[in-house]
């Protein structure tokens, strides 16, 4: 017989998976918008807002579960992790919006070199997808692999800043937009990595030191 708490935990899981799908869709759409120059700000703003509302739903449900069932052990770890993961997804939505907002701020970027962003975004999207899969399947190994990929994105961001600061003859608009977008990708990668930490915590109880 299922426990009463399981109904609440499954509902939280379902909302988190909805958030995961919306997050992946938002980040992919934002990167595509930057690559193609096709503005999608309103669409992504609406998804981002939807994700944020879902984060509130997760928080309320988790408080409800704590108040009703006083979860312990794996249940307790899941509830704590769910709130952290929901926050991570809400950040994905926000960074997706920030990426499309760069187009609004900088205007036409057709002539900018976008190879580094394209390369980095592939890794970032892969990390995001892997963190979602790790959560869905409680896959500790996959979660650890997400964490290993984080350094690549960090390096790309730092290189972009270095180019923007020290580069000669660079188009300022291109340098600023590339740096901003790589910064958002770097934050998305960090939060993917944190979701991996949360998966590890749910399954093993181990807490990863936050970088």
């Amino acid at each position: 017989m299922a426990r009463l708490i399981d109904i609440g935990l499954e509902r939280v899981s379902d909302i988190l998976m909805d958030m995961a799908n919306l997050s992946e869709k938002s980040v992919s759409a934002a990167i595509e918008s930057y690559m193609t120059g096709k503005p999608r700000i309103e669409e992504i703003r609406s998804w981002s807002e939807e994700i944020r509302q879902l984060q509130d739903d997760v928080s309320e449900l988790c408080v409800d579960i704590i108040a009703r069932y006083q979860p312990v052990a794996t249940d307790l770890r899941f509830v704590k992790a769910a709130m952290d993961i929901a926050y991570g997804f809400s950040r994905f939505g926000r960074y997706a919006f920030d990426i499309v907002d760069v187009l609004e701020l900088c205007g036409d970027l057709t002539n900018c070199e976008k190879g580094i962003v394209e390369l980095t975004s592939k890794t970032t999207r892969e990390m995001l997808k892997m963190s979602v899969d790790a959560f869905a399947n409680r896959d500790v190994e996959l979660a650890k692999n997400v964490q290993k990929m984080d350094d690549f994105v960090d390096d790309k961001f730092r290189e972009a800043i270095d180019r923007a600061v020290h580069g000669k003859g660079e188009d300022v608009k291109c340098a600023v937009s590339e740096s901003l977008i790589l910064r958002y990708l770097e934050r998305i990668s960090d939060h993917s990595s944190y979701i991996g930490d949360s998966v590890l915590y749910i399954v093993t109880g181990e807490r990863a030191p936050r970088k």
Binding site: R3, I5, Q70, P71, V72, A73, T74, L76, R77, G205
Partner: protein, 279 residues
């Protein structure tokens, strides 16, 4: 009352008769060392080779599903099972290094050292004062009426009941609420100057407010006593315990400390039990 009597009473009243003046500011310090304890009721093997340290000035909680042996284990600690038909045991239960089952140990005196509070409050149908003074009178642990008054007052104070009953000490204990009756039983246990107090589901019949008072009391009492608690209530265990012993089918499965044991238990059986998967 003559001036001398007043002075004598004042002298007694200013002493803390419940706490020996040993410079530590605490009393108690007795712990149990349970070694390879097996308990049987006729052919039923209820406790299976239990070895455990119950440390002084800590709250040790025995937790587990019905029939796991936790009540048997707590009752072994003051020989409450001696008269249960078919009871026998092997192994040792050492209190301050002395096996409480040795032939030269008086079980009645043992019960003054190891007090017990039960699930259901069980005050005697006599006055509040007489309930608390019952043990000291039986064991003659006081030298004067004034000293007995002080023991009653200090016991009720330590049980957090004095302010509520000081003006009606001669009224029947049966007129107290359930929570007050339970604290009276705690005062009655304290009055015999025990080293250890055993609590067997002491709050399971109480409302949340009374439960909170009993829990606060247990935490306060550990300063001067060794406290052992049996409970089904995991949240209660998490709130008050220093050490949690999880028993299942007569064995110790896991010993841990809250909150870690409730967040990340090491044994899958503990996880199942506390998560409600084990019936």
């Amino acid at each position: 009352m003559s001036g001398n009597q007043e002075l004598a009473q004042e002298d007694v009243a200013t002493q803390d008769l419940m706490t020996p003046n040993d410079g530590t500011g605490t009393r108690g310090g007795s712990g149990f060392s349970i070694r390879d304890l097996n308990v049987f009721y006729r052919n039923l093997h209820v406790l299976k080779g239990i070895s455990l340290e119950v440390e002084p000035h800590k709250i040790t909680v025995f937790m587990g599903p019905s029939g796991c042996g936790k009540s048997t284990l707590v009752r072994v600690l003051n020989r409450m099972n001696d008269h249960v038909e078919g009871f026998r045991h092997t192994g040792q239960v050492l209190l301050d290094g002395k096996n409480i089952y040795d032939s030269d140990v008086d079980p009645v005196l043992l019960k003054t050292k190891v007090g017990m509070v039960f699930q259901k409050p069980n005050p005697f149908p006599i006055s509040i004062y007489d309930n608390v003074s019952f043990g000291p009178k039986i064991h003659k642990t006081f030298k004067s009426k004034d000293a007995l008054d002080v023991i009653v007052q200090q016991s009720l104070e330590k049980a957090g009941l004095w302010d509520e009953v000081k003006d009606r000490l001669k009224t029947s204990a049966m007129r107290l609420s359930g929570g007050q009756q339970q604290r009276l039983c705690i005062a009655r246990a304290i009055a015999t100057l025990p080293e250890v107090i055993l609590f067997d589901e002491p709050a399971s019949a109480l409302d949340p407010g009374s439960t909170a008072k009993v829990e606060e009391l247990m935490v306060a009492l550990k300063k001067n006593y060794t406290v052992v608690l049996v409970t089904h209530n995991m949240q209660q265990a998490a709130r008050v315990a220093n050490k949690v012993v999880f028993l299942y089918k007569g064995d110790i499965v896991e010993i841990g400390e809250p909150p870690a044991m409730f967040e990340n238990p090491k044994n899958p059986l503990t996880e199942k039990y506390i998560s409600g998967h084990l019936t």
